[in-house]
Structure formats: structure tokens, C-alpha cells
């Protein structure tokens, strides 16, 4: 394993992310913050939503921001670099086994997703205050869940980025990411689906459910949520599954 080379690729990604910082910020935070503003502030102030909804919304928004950032950070460059610009060839020819190039992408994407997740908390708090009640009673569990969510986002990005055609990027958003977000228990807890028993079972195949519920369990445990054990197991399984799929797809794209 050539750590020097791996680290240099990580520095390259950090350098590019820093260069695109402003665009990244807009891309990552604009939509969730508008959502927070409308649902957490406008709807609550006007009485259509109860005050408690503010706190309920926070973990969901954090999950969306993380998943969106991770997927975007890994998938979009890969789609372009494999199919159009071939930019990645420089790194495929670097003196390192090619799967480390994919692992590096996952690591860089996870770090970005983590950053996005951690930035959302203070930003949402600023918009929503007063009235947000969240706790960090178990920082270790919170850290575990957050890292697993970040990895899920980046591994998902790898799997999508190496499977989707450039011409199908729009479809990827409308067919994969949007349904995932709406059926991902982001804007409501899983228990809110009690009256829709079939749907409640079906959404369990959506990894975002575990991300939102896991963050809910650690940030706002006063609301009903899935058990933490189920969340940790499910996220780990999804992470490994997506990573394996992603690496296989990456290999088939990288070598003809």
C-alpha cells in the first residue's frame, strides 16, 4: 500500500473542494435550509405545525444534507471522469492498486458528508431557535451513527457513479435520490407510517430510513425512533453492500 500516493490523491480532492467551496456550500445547504425555514419557521409560526416539529426536523435535514453531499461528491466526478473527460486516468496510472483510487474517493466523500452534517446542526439551530430541543447524551453513539451515515453516502455515490450513464444523471435524481429522500423518514419519524403498514415495511429497504432514524435516536431521543441496534446493524450492512458493489463497478469501468 502506497500511503504517500493515497495521501496525495486525498490532498488533490481537498484542494479541488476548497477551490469550489462556494459552489459546494450553495449546492449542499441551500435546499435543506430553505426547507428548514419554510417548515420549521413559517409553518410553525403560523400554527400549521406544532412547535415540536422543529426538533423532529433537525435529524432528517442532517441526514439529507449528508447523503446528498456524499453522493454528489463521489458520483458526479466519477460519472464525468469515466465517461467524458477521462480525467481519472491520471490516478489510475499512479503507482497504487486501482481499488485504492476508489477507496480514496469514498474517504474524501465521507469527510465532505461529515462536514456537511456537522455544519447543518448549528445552521439549522440558528434558523429555528428558539424551541429546538436536542441532546448529545451519548457522543460516542452519535459519532458512530454519523460516520456510518457518511460512509453510506459516499459508498452509495461510488456505486451510483460507476453505474449511471452521463445521459441518465437526471434520472438518477428523479428515480433514486428523490424517492429515497421522501420515503426516507427524513421529514417524519418512521412511526408516523403506523397507519400505512405496507408502506412502513417497504421503506425498510431504503437505507436513508436508518440514517434519519439513527440520527433521530441520538439527537432527539424524545421522539419515537427505531432501535439503535437495528440502525447500527442495518447501516453497517448497507455500507458494506454498497462498497462491494461500488468497487466491482469501479473495476469494470477502470479496466476494459
Amino acid at each position: 500500500m502506497n500511503w504517500k500516493c493515497f495521501f496525495a490523491m486525498l490532498v488533490r480532492d481537498a484542494h479541488v473542494a476548497r477551490r469550489n467551496f462556494f459552489v459546494l456550500i450553495l449546492q449542499t445547504f441551500l435546499q435543506p435550509l430553505m426547507f428548514v425555514f419554510i417548515f420549521g419557521r413559517v409553518m410553525v409560526r403560523s400554527g400549521y405545525m406544532p412547535e415540536a416539529y422543529k426538533s423532529l426536523l433537525l435529524p432528517g435535514i442532517m441526514a439529507i444534507s449528508m447523503v446528498f453531499t456524499g453522493v454528489w461528491a463521489v458520483a458526479m466526478p466519477l460519472i464525468a471522469e469515466f465517461q467524458f473527460t477521462r480525467e481519472i486516468e491520471d490516478r489510475l496510472l499512479a503507482p497504487i492498486e486501482i481499488w485504492w483510487v476508489a477507496i480514496e474517493k469514498v474517504l474524501a466523500g465521507s469527510l465532505q458528508a461529515l462536514l456537511a452534517g456537522l455544519v447543518v446542526i448549528p445552521m439549522a439551530w440558528l434558523i429555528l431557535r428558539p424551541g429546538v430541543v436536542f441532546s448529545l447524551d451519548s457522543p460516542l453513539t452519535f459519532a458512530c451513527v454519523t460516520v456510518l451515515v457518511a460512509l453510506f453516502a459516499a459508498c452509495g455515490g461510488l456505486a451510483l457513479g460507476c453505474s449511471v450513464n452521463q445521459s441518465h444523471i437526471g434520472l438518477m435524481f428523479s428515480m433514486v435520490l428523490t424517492p429515497m429522500i421522501f420515503f426516507g423518514c427524513t421529514y417524519y419519524p418512521w412511526s408516523a407510517l403506523n397507519n400505512f403498514p405496507i408502506l412502513q415495511k417497504i421503506v425498510l429497504i431504503n437505507p436513508l430510513v436508518y440514517a434519519s432514524e439513527g440520527l433521530r435516536a441520538t439527537l432527539v431521543p424524545q421522539f419515537p425512533h427505531l432501535s439503535l441496534l437495528a440502525v447500527l446493524v442495518a447501516l453497517t450492512v448497507f455500507d458494506l453492500l454498497l462498497l462491494a458493489t461500488g468497487l466491482r463497478q469501479f473495476r469494470s469501468k477502470a479496466v476494459s
Partner: protein, 338 residues
């Protein structure tokens, strides 16, 4: 010192070949319609054996789809061979990829620069991937930018670069870690004549420092000017190998006269064969003939006389002097540019 060897290299694509491999079709498989038909198999290489000495400038010459880029792809770890073996120095390419990648520098046919970086950053990061320390990287990047006449644009994003500038930067990048073997896939395609000359000079200079260079081209002039030896490949097979001079002298007579008549006349072709200085006559399409001879223009009068005596209309004559192009035509019956 590091040379290159391949042993009975074969490659069959079951999906369309990658960009770099030109999307060409070799072998007998047909392109077929897309859809429910079984997977189309495209034979890109069928048993290529080469031995390239260290310190040599070696050329792969052939038309589009001959298997040039696939050969480069296999030798640079980017294409998995279907059969056979390849070595860079002592390392078998498919099995020891990392040591191989340390030894080689690669310039792909299509520009594949990192568009998120400036020209200088591209060189610096490339150096970092190969473990150069920051002092070495900065020094080497500066030298290369100077050598390739890119210093004034060094700190601009490469997105706005012209094709020629991108090509120069690609080559500079490939040289950044001072590889023992340099692969150049169609290095001067799309370059203006001035830049091409600069490039040739740099390639010669790099070779003089003891490096092995493998380049692909379908430009005869380039092969002639740069290569110590070259192989002509077609349909994934080597059809001729040697120094440019030796290859050219292997064409019967050297001169090629491509003739077109109003109608086909076997009698006329027989008479042409008997002309003084004519070595070989081959009918090409319906009404044409390729005539190999040891003289050129001075044959025209005799050909015209024979044609009019046989009541055949001589419509077109094209004379070419001894060249690799003729050699290719002689071996394949097709022009390199077809």
C-alpha cells in the same frame, strides 16, 4: 535499462472498445445491430509478439482499429489481455501492476487532463502521486513547463487550453516522474507543424537520455522521422517489422503507381506486367490496378500507349515514391488512410 516484451498477446472485447482504443473493428466479427442479439465480439489483437529493446524508439503503425491503442492499453495496465503475456522490464504487466506503473509514463490518445486544476498543479500532483518531494516536484514542473513553452499559462486552469496546449501538457505530465518507458498514443494528432517539430525534438532528446519510447501513429512521416524500428499492424496482427529504411526497401521496386481505367481488362494487366521495371501488378477494385515498379513517371508513356492500343481509357494515375504507406498498401491492399 528497461525494454518491452509481448508474447502472443490477444484481446477480444465483448462490449465496445474503450475510447482510447479508438472504437475500431478488427478481426472477422461484425458490428451487428444493438439489441437482443448476442454480445458482439470484437477481436482487437490476435497474437501479437513484440520485443522492444531498452533505449529504443519503437513505432506501432497501422490504420484506425488495427489494435495500436489496445496494445498500449494492455502494456499500461488499462486493458486486460484475453490471452498472452506482456512485460515491462522484468515485470509482467497484468500481475505486477504497481511496479509497472512506476516505470511507465503514458500519453493517451484523447486529452485526459485533470480539469479541476491549473497546468502547474497538474504536474505537481502527478509528481506527488509518484512520491517526489515538494522541492523536486516544484523544480521539475518548472523545467517541463519551460521546455514545453507553457510557462506563461502555467497558473491558469487547463479548461481553456487549446488542443495543442493540452497535448503538450499531457506529454509534460507523462515525463514528470522521469519514467524509464514512455508511451505516446498518436502524440502529434491534431498538432500544428511547428508544435509537431517541437514535440519530435523533445521525444528525441528524451530518448537520448536512455529512455525507451513506444509510440503509435498512422502518420508515415512521423514514424520515419522518429522510430528506430517499427511494426506495421493490421487487424491485430504484425504484418511487417524492421527499421523504416529496411521496411521501405522491402516493397517491390519501391515506386507505386495507382491506375484507374475505364474498364477492367485482364489482357492489359498482363501486358503491364511485362513492362521493363515493373515488379508486380495487382488489380484493386473493379477498374483499377496497383503497379509496383522501380521507376515512376517514366513508365506513364508506356502505360498510356498500352492502354490506348487495348482500347482502354486511362482515367487516373497516382505515383508515389518509396514510402511506408506503399509498404502498408502492399501488405494489406488498403491505404493507411482508408
Amino acid at each position: 535499462m528497461v525494454g518491452i516484451r509481448t508474447q502472443d498477446l490477444r484481446k477480444v472485447y465483448t462490449s465496445s472498445p474503450p475510447f482510447a482504443a479508438g472504437g475500431g473493428f478488427g478481426g472477422s466479427a461484425s458490428a451487428g445491430k444493438r439489441g437482443k442479439q448476442p454480445k458482439t465480439e470484437i477481436v482487437a489483437l490476435s497474437g501479437l509478439t513484440l520485443e522492444i529493446s531498452s533505449g529504443e524508439v519503437f513505432g506501432l503503425l497501422g490504420p484506425n482499429g488495427a489494435g495500436k491503442s489496445t496494445t498500449v492499453g494492455i502494456l499500461t495496465t488499462r486493458v486486460r489481455p484475453t490471452g498472452g503475456q506482456a512485460w515491462i522490464g522484468q515485470h509482467e504487466v497484468w500481475k505486477e501492476q504497481v511496479p509497472v506503473k512506476r516505470l511507465i509514463g503514458v500519453v493517451a490518445q484523447r486529452p485526459n487532463l485533470d480539469f479541476s486544476l491549473t497546468a502547474r498543479e497538474i504536474l505537481l500532483f502527478h509528481g506527488a502521486y509518484f512520491g517526489l518531494d515538494s522541492v523536486q516536484r516544484t523544480k521539475r514542473a518548472g523545467e517541463l513547463l519551460e521546455r514545453f513553452k507553457l510557462s506563461d499559462r502555467a497558473d491558469q486552469m487547463v479548461r481553456g487550453f487549446s488542443g495543442g496546449m493540452m497535448q503538450r501538457l499531457s506529454i509534460a505530465r507523462a515525463m514528470m516522474h522521469d519514467p524509464k518507458v514512455l508511451f505516446l498514443d498518436e502524440p502529434s494528432a491534431g498538432l500544428d507543424p511547428q508544435t509537431r517539430l517541437l514535440l519530435w525534438e523533445i521525444i528525441r532528446e528524451y530518448n537520448e537520455s536512455g529512455k525507451t519510447i513506444l509510440l503509435t501513429t498512422h502518420n508515415m512521416e512521423e514514424a520515419d522521422a522518429l522510430c528506430h524500428r517499427l511494426v506495421i499492424i493490421d487487424h491485430g496482427r504484425a504484418i511487417a517489422l524492421g527499421t523504416p529504411a529496411k521496411l521501405k526497401s522491402s516493397v517491390p521496386g519501391g515506386f507505386l503507381l495507382r491506375l484507374r481505367f475505364g474498364r477492367q481488362s485482364p489482357d492489359l494487366l498482363e501486358q503491364l506486367r511485362a513492362l521493363n521495371g515493373v515488379r508486380e501488378v495487382r488489380a484493386n477494385d473493379q477498374n483499377g490496378a496497383d503497379l509496383y515498379a522501380d521507376r515512376g513517371g517514366s513508365l506513364i508513356r508506356d502505360i498510356a500507349t498500352l492502354a490506348s492500343a487495348g482500347n482502354v481509357d486511362l482515367q487516373d494515375v497516382h505515383i508515389s515514391e518509396p514510402s511506408l504507406e506503399n509498404l502498408f498498401l502492399h501488405h494489406t491492399g488498403r491505404s493507411l488512410r482508408e
